[in-house]
Symmetry: C2
């Protein structure tokens, strides 16, 4: 055990050094052009009012055009409540490896992977007990069942939250994760909202990197797949009061995944838009990645399935505003009233999960400056109007699990609306997908992609 | 094992016979006066437009005035989806008793009991596996930890729901539960809404009765306490897709409890009414007892605590309608515009949990016919108006855990509203509490109270 721990610690330090080296390189690469220059460029391009597709395809060397400070802008880290107690640190990590007999066979064909059904050999666990001073030492163990009291808060009051991340095996063989600080900040915001203890995101990422490193052979050797990472935080106090958690478990499991959604042969999904169901509402928690946002969607998804539709389009209010699609953010690409091409996504008004893919797409598209980029509300009547006038070009969902998911049909008020997303010559959603995967799979160096050993 | 099972089955049959005998007796008692006569009486009394308190106190022989068909009116049982598969039955129950060494000491003083911190020696478990045909055999085991895969749906997507019931030790030494069919129907409605399998409520009650019977010495020997029953249903499939559960666990744990809420010395609670938080909304699941309704309330409760307030008053919409208080339904007793005394509670419009205590209070108060009884929306401006005019008499929460919880203060828009609930000479909330506890503790025979061995 001591030997393993020593090896663990050595590896962490080595990884840290590599990480720091990589970030330094990225900063050097990026500092060639300043943020100001990029902003000027963007303003000029927005004045053109015309999408030049050739220019869009060619103008794609993202990592050289903005400095890393801008790219790595993340929300302010959550301030810990004074009574959270001690934090955990990556250099305290204990590792208990699976025995050779416990190791699972890896899937034969990456394309057969079903989302979240198969898991790797190890997991990460960090317990929190207020009565023991706060966060305990992080540990990596073989993947094993959790043991908990039947009164554990997570089983009764949905005291639980999670994140979705991915590790990608790049064209250079290196494994990368994507903007992990964003996940950590979002997770801490959800913890605060749930009466769960907050933690130091960067320390969790150190532990997670070690876990991925140990199970690195599970990261698929193809761009058609990746290793899905599921950090989870649950309240485990064995008491039935509806109250903050004095005991919690922060853990992570890993699952090799192919594509998330079933889609038709074209790769597009069809949606049920039923205004009688609401996902989130003002004064609620629709902008936090808490488990409680998901259970109420399952029965609605079942109704979509029964109609042969693949996902639910979540509408809000009497105006039937589009908010999210399935578990994704939604984007519309259209020709606006000024005749400009415009990419729009609902604003972060409390009803919308602040997606990291969403944020990345907005940042990329603004940098490209090839079309107008807006965070604004749009509703079903507007969608119908644009569709009738031939001005709706593309509609797509975005998220970590699916990346970009084009939409070709909406079933709304007993009508089928056919969306021409798949009929565009050079669709924006494809350009976006390429740009993101180029970063994630290391085809272009970018500070968003963090290499781990 | 076989012997224990045989004993278990024998006990169940004996219990069933006793139950049937009791219900038959109750029906005989109740059929003396018909529903119609009671309704006529109620109409006459409502025409009086005056509350005669003496009459209210004297007219209290509930069990003889309505027939049991009326009293036991419950929502239609949920229809099982065809693919739920086989059901479980009480006569299949397997019992594995705790060893003498495993038995826990019972609490010394019932009044010291903290809600949901201590549990009895045994629990009930019923697994569901679609791949094994549906529901499996019910089993009673020593209280033990649950073992589940870290990807279990309950830990990620809040696929969980529960009920709150109580077993009361009556003045005659018999143990009673209260309107259990209502809990079972509500639980099945929540299961449908959560993509969890439905079950036969009456079979679950048979199993639960046996569990209470085994742990009967845990039912406190006082009217100041009771045995809280927590039936729980969770989705346990070890897969990360947001989807219906093909594996589930229905279980029950028991906890001896005193009073639920902290209150001031007068026994009343103070409330935080902050319109920036919403508990439930149209198109959501606020009317189902799902875990997902609770996690988002914890942080708001913390804000109430920080202000020295005991509970949260949940408002809805721009008009600040009163919906619920903490985890309770809310009732207001006031003098209406016609000068009549009136008891009002928000209607079951989808935002309100259909409380069994709520339903019971409405039925009792309507039978008494001493004041007007209304299910209707009322808002904070109305509360302020009534208060200013001296027409607001009482405000109280109701629920299984607390029964009746009087409210003496609301902190709203930076103002403290003092409610004279505790200043009434013969308060209605006390009359209601007495009426309900008289039934629950067997002081008056009533079909709502079901005796178990």
């Amino acid at each position: 055990m001591t030997t393993k721990m020593a090896i663990g610690a050595k590896d962490i330090f080595r990884n840290q050094h590599r990480l720091i080296r990589f970030i330094e390189q990225s900063i050097r690469l990026c500092s060639n052009q300043s943020l100001k220059a990029a902003q000027q460029q963007q303003q000029q391009q927005q004045q053109q009012h015309q999408l030049n597709k050739t220019q869009l395809d060619g103008d794609f060397n993202i990592s050289k055009s903005l400095n890393s400070e801008h790219w790595n802008a993340v929300p302010e880290p959550v301030e810990h409540d004074p009574d959270v107690g001690q934090q955990f640190y990556g250099n305290q990590l204990m590792v208990r490896l699976a025995s050779p007999q416990q190791l699972q066979p890896k899937p034969d064909r990456d394309e057969d992977l079903i989302f979240g059904k198969q898991f790797t050999d190890h997991m990460l666990k960090i317990y929190y007990h207020k009565s023991l001073g706060g966060w305990q030492r992080p540990e990596i163990t073989p993947l094993e069942n959790l043991v908990m009291h039947p009164a554990a808060k997570v089983l009764h009051y949905a005291v639980e939250l999670f994140e979705g991340m991915k590790a990608y095996r790049g064209v250079d063989g290196k494994i990368r994760i994507f903007r992990p600080n964003m996940n950590m900040n979002r997770m801490n915001l959800a913890a605060k909202r749930s009466g769960l203890p907050t933690f130091e995101g960067k320390e969790f990422i150190k532990c997670l990197s070690r876990l991925i490193s140990i199970d690195s052979e599970w990261v698929p050797h193809t761009q058609a797949a990746s290793l899905y990472i599921r950090p989870t935080l649950i309240g485990i106090d064995p008491t039935l009061g509806v109250a903050s958690s004095d005991s919690a478990l922060l853990y992570a499991i890993l699952s090799p995944v192919g594509s998330y959604f079933k889609s038709d042969s074209s790769g597009a999904v069809s949606l049920l838009a039923d205004p009688s169901y609401t996902r989130a509402w003002p004064g609620g928690v629709g902008n936090r990645k808490m488990g409680s946002n998901y259970a109420p969607t399952i029965n609605v998804q079942k109704k979509a399935d029964a109609k042969g539709l693949q996902q639910v389009l979540w509408l809000y209010g009497e105006t039937h505003d589009l908010t999210e699609v399935g578990t994704m953010n939604i984007f519309m690409f259209f020709i606006n009233d000024k005749g400009e091409k415009e990419l729009i996504t609902p604003p972060l008004n409390g009803l919308i999960l602040p997606g990291i893919t969403r944020d990345s797409i907005l940042a990329l598209a603004r940098q490209w400056g090839q079309f107008k980029v807006t965070e604004g509300t749009f509703n079903m009547p507007r969608v119908c109007e644009l569709l009738n006038q031939g001005r709706l070009l593309e509609l797509f969902g975005t998220g970590t699990a699916c990346l970009v998911s084009p939409i070709n049909r909406i079933h709304y008020m007993n009508q089928d609306l056919y969306i021409p997303t798949m009929e565009q010559e050079k669709p924006v959603h494809e350009t976006i997908r390429t740009a993101l995967t180029d970063i994630q799979y290391g085809k272009v160096p970018h500070p968003w992609a963090v290499v781990i050993e």
